[in-house]
């Protein structure tokens, strides 16, 4: 049975855990999980939709599979900037001004879109408010994250896109930080997600989803999946096992069913 832990002294310590207690690398579960998903979809699938159904971690957090209108552009931009800071952290960058550094890095990547236009429209007061907000989240994050050793092979903003049912369903995911490698005798991939919201019921589903998509993508079951709230400094960590992945399959099937019915 997976256990939830909270508020670690050090995130890396919690992610890596005790090396001697890690399970052997599981390379056999992925085909079974894929088959469970395919069979589950086939049970309620009546006809293929014109456009692919796209499932994201956020789709699992919203029970009715619709976008949360309470999620303001300010909150989204804050989340994006905190993710940029995680990326900078992953390569050991020295951050002098959290907001300026994150904003510069983000501007280098984006070239348009709703958030970009929103950021362009911000006046001095709004920018100052956003900067204060980002800085406070950054302080919480940096205290917990500490230094990420290069030998842990940290990768940031790791994207995954798994096709199911002949490409009519896409499971998309972005893992904020991934440490470890899929090669080796024992499991050592740890997934780390950062959210600027307090942790709620959806966070656990989202953690399971990250583990499932990573398993389907790489064919190797990760060691741990975790989520950290930069709003509260709370961190939840789950050891990934067969039961957790099966629960995630059920979550995903329920979400797809709701999305199909909704459309």
């Amino acid at each position: 049975m997976p256990t939830l832990t909270d508020s670690p002294r050090n995130v890396m310590e919690a992610l890596r855990g005790d090396r001697s207690r890690r399970p052997r690398t599981d390379v056999t579960s992925a085909p079974g999980l894929r088959a469970m998903l395919e069979d589950g979809i086939f049970d309620f699938w009546t006809s293929a939709p014109a456009t692919p159904v796209i499932v994201r971690a956020s789709s699992l957090c919203n029970a009715n599979a619709s976008t949360d209108i309470a999620l303001s552009n300010h909150a989204r931009l804050r989340g994006v900037l905190i993710n940029q800071l995680v990326r900078l952290f992953s390569v050991g960058a020295t951050i002098t001004s959290a907001f300026d550094d994150a904003f510069r890095a983000w501007r280098l990547e984006v070239n348009g879109g709703e958030l970009y236009e929103y950021a362009q429209r911000l006046d001095g007061d709004d920018l100052a408010r956003l900067a204060t907000d980002v800085t406070s989240h950054y302080v919480t994050l940096s205290r917990a994250l500490g230094t990420i050793p290069a030998q842990f092979q940290p990768r940031s903003a790791v994207r995954a896109s798994v096709m199911l049912s002949g490409g009519t369903i896409l499971l998309r995911d972005v893992i904020d930080l991934m440490v470890g490698t899929t090669l080796g005798q024992v499991a050592n991939v740890a997934l780390f997600d950062v959210t600027t919201s307090p942790l709620g019921a959806g966070a656990e589903r989202s953690m399971r989803y990250h583990a499932l998509v990573q398993t389907l993508r790489s064919g190797v079951v990760p060691l741990r999946t975790s989520v950290f709230s930069s709003a509260t400094g709370e961190m939840w960590t789950l050891d990934v096992d067969a039961e957790l992945l099966r629960r995630s399959v059920v979550d995903v099937l329920e979400t797809i069913r709701a999305m199909v019915q909704h459309t």
Binding site: R87, L88, V91, A93, E109, A150, S156, L183, G219
Partner: protein
Amino acid sequence: MTTFIHRRAGVSELNDLIESAPDEIVTLDDDHRRSLGARFRAVPASGHRRIDAWNVERAGEPAHAFRWSPATTRRTLGNAALRRLLRDPLCGVLDAINREIDDQLMRDVAGYAPRASMASWLASLHESELALVRADATNWALQMHEIALGIELPWRVCASDAFYDIARARTTLRGRQDLEVTLPDRRVLLRIRSGSPGKSSGPGLRSDLTIATLSHPHGVAPARMIGLWPESGVCLGVDGTMSDLRAGARDLVRTAVAQQRQRQQVAA
């Protein structure tokens, strides 16, 4: 009859795909090169044209104007870092990336970097922007290293992409290649791409196969060309058969024709 293989991108599946590459070696001779050259020369070119697998997959549709970004530098920096890592195993991936970026910055400081080159772009960046470039290149290098370490046969990181200039046709073909795996008497090429494969990924792979063969000094085709999409956990393969090489060459010529038609439409 062309070939097309679809597999999951797991370690054992990839090794199976490499080891099962066909034994028969196909070679393109001077007649093939002359014939291809004649076909390209028959397509009028308003300027020097460059064709690669991406153009083939997009059916010659004009691409957006190129601009340097973390995404456009990650492969160059990541592959160079991996080559450095293989020369100096004590150096970590992040160290290797840092040294590659330092080399680029030195080129700019020394005045060897042309304007609009990657080196001059990197030199224009703020420290935090440079860190983002480093993060993207590290992702690429770690991912490629992980793939390469899973390969059981001898492999090397390709020194560069394959380029082939077609005489008097003002055309340069560019074939993407990241890893070369050596089997007894034959070789297999691997190409790593982000995102997910689409419907035109097969023709794209065949074009890379053809360009890799044309750029080989003796015209020897790779036994198999494998495209890897780690984000989707999928790999596709095409064999180095004469049918696949012909199909690849046809797609490249068709792309040149499509590009020319689109230019004419824009001009009209």
